[in-house]
Symmetry: C2
Subunit: 637 residues, 2 copies
Amino acid sequence: MADVDVIRQVLDGPWAELRQALRRDLDPDLFIPLDPENSLEEHRRDTTERLLRATEVISTHNVLEPSEPAKLVIASEMLGHANLSLFVKSGVQFGLFAGVIANLGTDRHRRDVLPKALDCSLLGCFAMTESDHGSDVQSLETTATYDPATDEIVITTPHPGAQKEYIGNAARDGRMAAVFAQLEVDGTNHGVHCILVPIRDEQGEALPGVWIGDCGAKMGLPGVDNGQLRFDAVRVPRTNLLDRYGTIGEDGTYSSPIDSHNRRFFTMLGTLVRGRISVGGAGAAAARSGLTLAVQHALGRRQFPNPLAGDEGELLLLDYQTHQLKLLPLIARSYALAAAQNELVGDLDRIERRRLESPELDDEHDRRELEARAAGLKAVQTRHTTDTLQICREACGGAGYMAVNRFAALKADTDVFTTFEGDNTVLLQLAGKALLTRYQTEVSDLDPVGIARFAARQVTGAMIERVGGSGLVQRLIARGRSREAESPLADRGGQLVLIEDRERHLLDTLAARMRSAPKDDPVAAAQVFNRCQDHLVATAEAHVERIALEALVEAVDEVGEPGAREVLDLVCDLFVHDLLHRHRAWYLEHGRISSGESKDVVRRRADLCAQLRPHAALLVEAFAIPAPWLTNELATA
Amino acid sequence: MADVDVIRQVLDGPWAELRQALRRDLDPDLFIPLDPENSLEEHRRDTTERLLRATEVISTHNVLEPSEPAKLVIASEMLGHANLSLFVKSGVQFGLFAGVIANLGTDRHRRDVLPKALDCSLLGCFAMTESDHGSDVQSLETTATYDPATDEIVITTPHPGAQKEYIGNAARDGRMAAVFAQLEVDGTNHGVHCILVPIRDEQGEALPGVWIGDCGAKMGLPGVDNGQLRFDAVRVPRTNLLDRYGTIGEDGTYSSPIDSHNRRFFTMLGTLVRGRISVGGAGAAAARSGLTLAVQHALGRRQFPNPLAGDEGELLLLDYQTHQLKLLPLIARSYALAAAQNELVGDLDRIERRRLESPELDDEHDRRELEARAAGLKAVQTRHTTDTLQICREACGGAGYMAVNRFAALKADTDVFTTFEGDNTVLLQLAGKALLTRYQTEVSDLDPVGIARFAARQVTGAMIERVGGSGLVQRLIARGRSREAESPLADRGGQLVLIEDRERHLLDTLAARMRSAPKDDPVAAAQVFNRCQDHLVATAEAHVERIALEALVEAVDEVGEPGAREVLDLVCDLFVHDLLHRHRAWYLEHGRISSGESKDVVRRRADLCAQLRPHAALLVEAFAIPAPWLTNELATA
């Protein structure tokens, strides 16, 4: 029998120790479901209290240390298992509010404000989104105008559509907001910048010129006090500008280390990548909670007399093929996404540490890569969250519909993840465009023959940036390509080649279509781009899925224990076959597999589910979600 | 420009007049969202009050007349647009409680109890599901034992797992329950029967021997008071047995017009088919509400500067290809499902009326057909509901997450539809088995050559029972088959052939696999059946989709007005291409289309979305959901 701890460590990755410590130290009371009968005010008060209690615990594990950028993401995953209001509340406070101070501020902000944000003595908001502009934050309309007469910045909401919208911590708790606004100095617009604006006094009353609204009831996240903010010529000192990438000197002149508005804006946004990574991680954690509940239920509940049940008479839900097909591919996907998340958090950690050590370093390439991957993985993970919780709820039938059994909150609370911290469709396009930019930079000057040669070269990894540094995937792929005679499906290398081929072909053809857009006709070009949107999204998804597979292959390769290794290899096989199953129409359309092989994929996927059925309990046990965090009344084995 | 009324009438079908009357007469106050801040008790009280008010209105339109079986389904659709608690509450009272009295009772029940159920002076429960048995209701464990000494029936819950579970109207309002239990007379079990059992006195207190629990908060449907019931030797008069299909005479002996337990049970269940049809209809109606909101939002909100926006600067959401691909195929599918629902309700109406007129008629074939179709269509419609509302919510971004914008309730309330009134996976298997049974009855004695001939014959409709009586589909298919040279995709007949071929091939191969199960080894046979579950489910879905397409083709064919006809033909084209897109892997695997044709499907589907884009407002306007029923704060054009 495979050892559950060995498998758990594969999922826990480099942060196994911190995860275990948090599993031990986070009080199960933090995860007691909010009573659905409570009022919004009670939910909010309760969540704020829990935030303060959780802060004490995570502080003892250095989760909030700016020098430990990955730890907050890991702690977020832990909260994401079972209290999403608390996850979002802490994400707003630490990830967004404290994060923007740490990342866009300079020494005085880090010295004077940051500590109060980190110990929760100053609760704050991250005021970016406006009613009229959510996805397109570069077009925000709130203005921040420097007034040299008083050495102040004047914050104004020019019209109702420019009010800050859905702002967490705004409706009840926030005392200060980090407000994104168009900065104007001496009549010149310098693009979107972030300014710290006090919004409430000590007694919690809105300050003069600040109007605060309440978004009221939402689909979920009742513990988060989302609200609206409007500013009527609110004045703050010049030094409240978070001025790392653009400052106003004592002489009242603007200066920035980055000339282009556009680049400056995206550099600022880029430093906020951790929030997106946290949402993806918390969403994936919630999906693992759902799978844990659904598998336990399916191993505890019997229905219909069936000869396969032997003396028990009625068969366990998980022994039905349809039930296995619902849950096991999602478990395999959860494993792959967890591995990809660990890789991504590792990249974040490396890049952020390097920046802290050598702030002058030009790491733009790495940061862009990180941002693109974070955008893509967040989209794929949160889609997985929504899909998984839906299927798990249904797999628990009527019991899954009762609030006491957790799905109501898990589903409703995570539902917004597909559209906040970036709408998934927009994020996938962003990730796709990043792939395309890199591609076009490298091939732009090639003629068709050169492009063909270039495409061939990609096989060796010139274009495809691989996960992990071990070279394992490279070696497997080389082996996969060399054995063309055998079925590509049976061999890990062959599988990797198939998955990678799809990404590469999608990118090649996408680039070709984009190049066909007329250079001198913006409308016609926009039409071409618009018609390529689905292609762009598919390319980004293929990229993320390839990355996830490689991460899983790398993680599994480190397992020596034969029992665990065998189970994990099956998980890897199932993930591959589930990917091929999802995309087999594409593989057939593009002659990558025969119709016989495609039917094999359908069959093998079902067979792999049956092979993993005996390990289902083990696979969810390795998610290592403390049972007291997930109290419920579902049938359990 | 196409006339919206012409298109509306296609959707409204034969009940256009009743629908219009209800749109006019149902007070918009019935659809004001329940305040999320209210307590469960307030939600329940409010919903009960609305039930009484709605009852007055629908009574004036003869919706509750037993002689008008279809009208309640139509009224349910109307409630389903915007108040699902009210839909379920009235469904429990009229569809289930009154329905079971009308269908399983005899004259004295219809005379003494039914009128009180229909005027809501007696609120009642439908107590079928038990904690341990939901899908497998034939294994219910509550007992009803006839005691000749007192001429009473004794109702007992033998253990906690046999308690009645999730019972609507139980926790607060119900005074009487229609309890399904194993009937035992003189030591012999006669299978599941239904008995009327008073559960509360006039003051609302539980009667002696009756224990009533409260399911408390659920994911949604806060206005429905679901509860549990346990019976400790509760005695009711013998005449409380609803005894149409099995009675206990004054001499204390049991008799039934149906010998087999099994057949008797399924005959009883079959009479309850209307509930399932109502749930499918209400779910589809809720999906149309979601699409209405999402399209209005996508035509009111602009995001990102884009050359295609001209002077407006920023482009409307619905002008983005990804947004069109999200919403328009779901609109087309909604049209097809609405047409199929109209067909199904028409069948129900015909069969029920015939039964009322000639109760002695043997209509088992027709009833089985109706039940199978109802099961399949309910599953496909409610899947569509959940998928559609999810996509529509996301298409409205953060605004879609706010309770005020209706998706929170629409999603949460309808979520249970995929598993109540029959779990969708179980229902599809039921529908698939019905297809298989008919198939095997007709082919069981054939040798392989005979089977091949039989398969060929099916083309002319021997096996495939078609929708509608006009012969139109038949003619189109014959024409489609005769022009093999042209692309099958461009011609309606060719499209119908493609869609039908899939159903037929799935059924042929399913039957072959099932036949391969060893007759003399139940365990080995059960293994074969288990491995065919996904095949069975796919066959049933293919059947429903084919039925839906035929229903849409028939409905569209009645439209003479050229503008409306053109739009509806595009809708039909898009539905076909969306079906082919979903299943194109299958078509490729089975050599039905070439890889070039498959790529064409992908392209054409996107093109059809773009072609329908200018008609999007019209298409949702034709859903004819009164605006005051759907108050919201989304951006609107």
